[in-house]
Symmetry: C2
Subunit: 697 residues, 2 copies
C-alpha cells in the first residue's frame, strides 16, 4: 500500500515521456511555407514575451510569499511552495510553446484534410495535457515522498499543502493576466477591424490580429493549463490535508486506517493517469469533416479513460479499505468518487445546455436579438442566472451522494474525521483523475482556432479554412466538459480545504466558532459575498482599459500607415507594438485583483479567525454562483452570435447579428477573464487560510 | 413607560389625519381642462384596475397563508397576519389613488410656475407617505396593545410577528407585480414608440403611453409604498421579537428591563412620526426652477425631521435606560440608532455617487457609450459591482457601530440577549423612523413624472413641461435616499430577524446548529446563494415576456388603426387594451417568483432546520449584494443616458445616445423589478421562517 506514491510518481514520469513523444510528433510535421512560418514565429514570440514578462512580475509576488511562508509557517513549506509555483509555470510555458508550434502545422496538415490535421492539433494539445498532469503529480508526489515518507517531518502535511498554494498563485495570475490579455486583444481587433474598418476576422491588415492569436495561447492555453494544474493538484491535496489535520497525524506515526485514507486519492490519481495515457492513443482523425464523426474521434480517448478510471476506482476502494474493520462498505468511497465524476460531467452538460446553439436558451437569445441589443443582453443574463440554480442543485446532489457514500464506507469517525466529509473531499478527484486527456482535448481548441487564423492571414485556399473551421467548431463544445470539471472540482475542493482549515485551527489550539449567528462570522460572510463582485468588477474594468489602449493603437496605425487599410502590396502593420500594449496593460492590471486574493484573507485572519471562516464560506458560495453565471452567460452570447452567423435570423450583417455581437462582446470578459479566474480566487483564499492557519491562532 | 404603545398609536392617528388633510388640499386644486381630466381618469382607471386585479390574485395566496398559519402556528396569528396584509394593501391603494389625482393637478399648477406645483406634488406624495407610516404603525400598535398589553396572550409575540409577515407578503407581490407592469409598459412604449415609430416619449399617439403612466403609479407608488410599509413595520417588529424570543418572554410576565427594551423601538417610532409631521409642513416651493433651490425646499422637511428624531432618540434612551442598574451607558443605544441612520444616509449617498451624473461612474459609462453598447453595458455592470463592495463596507460599519453601542449600553446579557445584538436590531429603526416624510419625498417623484406625461399628452405649452421636468429631475435623486434606507434597513432587519429565528428555535426546544462547517448548513448556504440568482432571472424573464406582448400590441395598433401614426385629428389609440395586457401579463408572471419566497424556506425548514439557517444566511448576503448591484447598475445606465440627452457626447440621436439607450433598457428590469423585489425576498424568507420556527422543531 505504501508503494502508491511511488507508483503515482512513475505514472507521472510516464505522462511526461508521453508529452515528449507527442512533442516530437508535432515537431516533425511540416509548418508550411515561409509566410506561415513567419506568422507562427510572430505568435510564438509574442506569447513567449508575454509569459516571460508575466513570470518576471509574478516572481516578485512569489518571493514575497516565500519569505512570508518561511517566517510564519516553516522554511521547508516555502520550498514546497516554490516547487509548486515553478512546475506550474513550467507546464504553462511548455504547453504554450508546443501549442504555438502546432498551429501552423495543423494548418499545413489541413491541406490534406481533417484526417491529417486532427491528430496534430490533438497531440499539440496533449503535450499541454500531459505536461500539466505529469508535472503536477510528479511534484506533489516528490514533495510527499520526501517530507512524509522519507523524512517523516513533523510539519510534513503543512509542507505538502504549501505545494498547492504555489500552484494556485501561478494559476490566479495566469488566469487574470492571460484573461485580460486575450480579451483586450480580441475586443481591440474586432471593434476596429470588423466594425470600423470593415475587414474580416484574422485579416493580415489588422495590426491586432497577431496579438489576438497570441491571446488565444496565453489565455486559453497557458492560463487554462495553470488553472487545471492547480485544480488537479488541489483535488489530491484537499483529502490528504483533510485526513492529516482532522486526525492530527504526525508523519512518523500514521496508523493503518489513516494510511488507507491518505493513499486512496493518490491511488485514483495513479489509475487516472494510466487511463489517460491509454485514452490519448485512441484519438485518430477520419477523412470526414462531419462534426459528429470528428467529435466521436476526439471524445473516444476521454470516454475510454473515464471508463477505465471508474472500474479501477472500485478496485482500489476494495483493495485499500477491504481489510480493515474500521471500514464498513469500501464501495461507499468509490461511490463518492464516481458520484463526483458524474456530477462534474453533468455540470459540463448543463453548461453545454445553456451555451450550445442546439438547445433552447441560446436559440432564445438569438431570437431576442430581433428586438435589439438590450433584449439580447437581458436574455443572456437571465440564462446565465438560471444556469446558476441548476448548477447549485447539481453540486448539492454531488455533495449529498459523496457524503452518503463516505458514511456508507465508515459511519464511525476515524479520529475526528467523519466518513461523509472524507467522501466529499475525494469526490473532486473523480472529475480530475483524467486531467491528462481532458486538458489535451481542451487545449486542442485554441490550436485549431489559431490554425484557422494562420490560414486566413497566410491567404491560403478557402478549402483549408473550411477544414480548420470544422476542427475549431468542435473546440467550443469540448471546452464545456473541462469547464464543468474545473467548476465542480473547485466547489468540492474548496469545501474540503475549508474543512481542513477548521481542523487546522483546532489542531493549532485555536477555538474556531463558525456559527453564522455570531456577529463576526456574519460580518465575514458579508465580506465574502462582496469580494467576488469586487473581483469581477476589477477584472472587467481591466479588460475595458486594456482594450481601449489597443483600439487607439489600431486606429492610429490605420490612420498613419499609408496603404495599410487598402491592403497595398508589401505594407504590413506594426503587430509587435500591439503585442507590447496587450502585454504591458494586462500585467499592470493583474496586480490588484491578484493581490486581493491573498491579502484580504490574511488581514481578516490575523484580526479575527472566526470572521475569516465566514469570509471563506461567503466567498465560496457567492463566487461559485457568480463564476457559473459569468461563464454560462458569456458562452451563451458567443454561441448565439455564431448561430446567427450560421444563417439564423437573417445571418451575418443584419440587425439581429449586430445585436448578437453586442451580447458576445459583453460576454467576452465574463467567460474568459472574470468567470474562470473566480474559481481560482476561491481556492487561493481557502488555501492561503489553510497554510497560515496555525499562525492565526 | 407602558404608555408608549398608546402614544405611538396616537401619533399614527395624527399621521392619518395629516394624510386626510393633505388629501383635501390636493383634491381642492384644479385638475385642468377636459383633456387633462380625461388623461388623469384613464391613468387612474388603469391603476385601480391593476391594483384590484392584483389584490384579487394575492388574496388567494393570503387565504392560503391564513389557513396555514392558523393550523400550524396559531389562529390569532392568522388574524394579525390578515391585519398586516389588509392595511398594507389599503395604504398602497390610498396612496396610488391620490397620486393619480395629484398628477394632473400638478400639471395645472405648473402653469403658474414651480412655486405652485411643488407643494401639490409633494402633498400628493405625502398622502402616500403618511398613509403608509400611519397605517403601519397603527396596525402594529393595535396588535401589540390587544395581544401583549391587554390580553397578555401566551403567544402574543408570535402573533405580533405574523403582522410583519402579512405586510411582507403584500410587499413582495406588489414589488414583483408592479415592477413587471411598469417595465413591460415602459419598454413596450419606448421600443416601438421612440425607436420604431420615431415619436417622442409620452406622445398621445402611442397606445402604450397610458399604460406607461399607469406603470409609474403601480410600480413606483403602490409598490414602493408596500415596500416601505413592510420595511417600517419590520424594523419595529425585529427588535421586539428579538427581545421576546431571546429572553423567552411571556406577555404576562415582562420584567422592567425587558420592558424598556421592548418600548425603545416604539418610542423611536413615536418621536420619528411626530418629527415627520412637523417636517412635512416645511416643504414649500419658491418661484425658481433652479434645481438647487427646489432640492433645498424638498429636503428641508426630511432634514428637520431627522434632526428632531436624533435629539429625541438620545432623550428616549436616557429616559428608558437611565434608571436601571442593568444598563451601563444609555447613550450606547442612541449611538446604535443614530449609527444606523447615518449608515442608511451614507448608503443613499453611495447609491447617488454611483448613479448620479455629477460623479465619475456615470460620466465614465457615458464616455464608454462612444465605443458602443457593449462597452456601455460592461462599464455599468462593473460600476454596479464596485458599488456592492462599497455598500458592504458601509453595512459592516453600521453593524459594527450598532454592536459596539449596544455593548456599551449593557455588556452583561439580559437573559440571553446581548447588548450588541440588540443594538443591531434597533439600528434599522433609525433609518425608518421618519418614513412618513421620506416616503412623501419619494412618492413625489412619480407624481412629477406623470405630470410631465400629462403635459405632453395634453399638448400643453412647452413652458409647462419645463416646469414639470425641473420637478421631475429632482425626483431621481430623492429616490436615492429612500432606496439607501430601504436597502440598509433590509440588511439589518433581516439580520435581527435571523437572530430571532435562532432564539425562537431554541425556545421551541430545538437544537439549532448554524456552524457553516456542518454539511447541511453549508448545503443551505449554497441554496441560499443560488436563490437570489434564480429570483432575478425569473423576474427579468417575466419583464421580457410581458414587454414582448406589449410591443406586439403597439405594433398591431400602428398597423391596423388608420391615421394613428400620422396623428390624424380625432384618431385615438386603444390604450385600454395595452393596460389590460400589462395587467394580465404582470399578474401571471408574479406568481412563481412570489411563491418561491414562501415555499422554499418552508420546505427546507421542515426537512432540516439547520439547512434553513444556512439558506437564510446565504440568501441574505448574496441577495443583498445582488440587490445593490442591480439597483445601482440600473440607476447608473439611466442617468448616463439622461446625461447624454442633456448634451454630452453628441447629445440625443447620436450613436453614443443609442448605446446609452441600450444600457438604460438593460437596467430597467434591474433597478425597477428585480433589484427592489430582492430586498423583500430576503425579509419574507426570514420572517416566514421565524413565524413557523416552532413548527419546524
Amino acid at each position: 500500500m505504501s508503494a502508491i506514491p511511488y507508483l503515482a510518481l512513475v505514472s507521472a514520469l510516464a505522462a511526461l515521456a508521453l508529452a515528449m513523444f507527442f512533442f516530437n510528433n508535432v515537431k516533425q510535421a511540416s509548418p508550411g511555407d515561409e509566410r506561415m512560418v513567419f506568422l507562427m514565429t510572430e505568435i510564438q514570440k509574442g506569447a513567449r514575451a508575454f509569459l516571460k514578462a508575466e513570470y518576471t512580475w509574478v516572481s516578485v509576488f512569489v518571493v514575497a510569499m516565500i519569505v512570508l511562508i518561511a517566517i510564519i509557517v516553516h522554511p521547508l513549506a516555502s520550498i514546497s511552495y516554490l516547487v509548486g509555483a515553478v512546475l506550474s509555470a513550467t507546464a504553462g510555458y511548455a504547453g504554450m510553446t508546443v501549442a504555438t508550434m502546432a498551429n501552423a502545422r495543423t494548418t499545413e496538415a489541413a491541406k490534406q484534410g481533417p484526417g491529417a490535421a486532427l491528430p496534430i492539433a490533438f497531440r499539440g494539445g496533449a503535450v499541454m495535457g500531459f505536461a500539466v498532469a505529469g508535472l503536477a503529480l510528479l511534484g506533489l508526489m516528490a514533495v510527499y515522498i520526501v517530507f512524509v515518507t522519507l523524512l517523516e517531518h513533523k510539519e510534513a502535511f503543512e509542507i505538502v499543502t504549501a505545494y498547492g498554494l504555489g500552484a494556485s498563485s501561478i494559476a490566479l495570475f495566469s488566469r487574470v493576466g492571460g484573461g485580460i490579455y486575450t480579451k483586450a486583444a480580441d475586443v481591440g481587433a474586432d471593434l476596429v477591424g470588423k466594425v470600423e474598418a470593415g475587414i474580416p476576422e484574422d485579416d493580415p491588415r489588422n495590426p491586432a490580429t497577431i496579438a489576438d492569436n497570441v491571446g488565444d495561447n496565453v489565455g486559453d492555453v497557458a492560463g487554462m493549463g495553470a488553472d487545471l494544474f492547480e485544480s488537479y493538484a488541489g483535488s489530491i491535496i484537499a483529502p490528504i490535508s483533510l485526513v492529516a489535520f482532522a486526525t492530527g497525524l504526525a508523519a512518523d506515526d500514521i496508523g493503518d486506517d489513516a494510511l488507507s485514507l491518505l493513499m486512496f486519492p493518490m491511488a485514483i490519481a495513479f489509475v487516472g493517469m494510466i487511463a489517460s495515457i491509454i485514452g490519448s492513443f485512441l484519438v485518430k482523425g477520419g477523412e470526414s469533416t462531419d462534426s459528429k464523426a470528428l467529435s466521436r474521434a476526439l471524445h473516444l480517448g476521454t470516454n475510454v479513460a473515464m471508463g477505465i478510471t471508474i472500474v479501477a476506482t472500485v478496485a482500489m476502494a476494495f483493495w485499500l479499505f477491504g481489510d480493515s474493520d474500521a471500514f464498513d462498505q469500501p464501495i461507499g468511497l468509490a461511490i463518492s468518487v464516481i458520484g463526483g465524476l458524474i456530477v462534474g460531467w453533468a455540470l459540463g452538460k448543463t453548461a453545454e445546455y445553456y451555451t450550445s446553439d442546439h438547445f433552447g436558451p441560446v436559440k432564445k437569445i438569438a431570437a431576442q436579438a430581433e428586438t435589439g441589443p438590450a433584449t439580447t443582453v437581458l436574455s443572456g443574463i437571465s440564462a446565465g442566472m438560471v444556469s446558476v440554480a441548476a448548477s447549485v442543485l447539481l453540486i448539492l446532489v454531488g455533495v449529498g451522494v459523496a457524503y452518503w457514500g463516505g458514511e456508507l464506507a465508515f459511519s464511525d469517525d476515524i479520529s475526528n474525521l467523519s466518513g461523509g466529509i472524507y467522501g466529499i473531499a475525494v469526490a473532486a478527484i473523480g472529475m480530475l483523475a483524467t486531467t491528462g486527456v481532458v486538458v489535451s482535448v481542451d487545449a486542442y481548441g485554441p490550436i485549431a482556432d489559431n490554425a484557422g487564423g494562420i490560414a486566413e492571414m497566410a491567404e491560403l485556399d478557402p478549402s483549408v479554412r473550411e477544414v480548420t473551421d470544422a476542427l475549431d467548431s468542435l473546440g467550443n463544445t469540448t471546452a464545456a466538459v473541462a469547464k464543468g470539471f474545473a467548476v465542480g472540482s473547485a466547489a468540492l475542493t474548496a469545501l474540503a480545504l475549508f474543512k481542513s482549515f477548521e481542523f487546522a485551527i483546532a489542531e493549532a489550539g485555536g477555538d474556531l466558532n463558525l456559527n453564522v449567528g455570531e456577529v463576526d462570522v456574519f460580518i465575514g460572510l458579508f465580506i465574502g459575498a462582496g469580494l467576488p463582485f469586487l473581483f469581477a468588477a476589477l477584472t472587467i474594468d481591466a479588460v475595458g482599459r486594456a482594450a481601449t489602449e489597443m483600439i487607439e493603437e489600431v486606429r492610429r496605425q490605420f490612420r498613419e500607415i499609408p496603404g495599410l487599410r487598402e491592403g497595398k502590396e508589401g505594407v504590413i502593420p506594426d503587430s509587435a507594438r500591439c503585442v507590447e500594449i496587450s502585454t504591458a496593460a494586462s500585467l499592470k492590471e493583474m496586480i490588484i485583483p491578484g493581490a486581493l486574493a491573498v491579502v484580504v484573507p490574511l488581514v481578516v485572519g490575523f484580526i479575527d479567525v472566526d470572521a475569516l471562516g465566514g469570509l471563506l464560506a461567503g466567498a465560496l458560495v457567492t463566487g461559485f454562483a457568480l463564476a457559473i453565471f459569468m461563464a454560462n452567460a458569456g458562452g451563451a452570447w458567443d454561441n448565439a452570435k455564431k448561430y446567427i452567423e450560421a444563417g439564423a435570423h437573417g445571418g451575418k450583417g443584419g440587425d439581429p447579428h449586430k445585436a448578437a455581437v453586442v451580447g458576445d462582446t459583453v460576454g467576452d470578459p465574463f467567460k474568459d477573464t472574470s468567470g474562470p479566474a473566480m474559481n481560482i480566487l476561491l481556492k487561493v483564499m481557502t488555501i492561503v487560510s489553510l497554510v497560515f492557519a496555525s499562525s492565526f491562532v
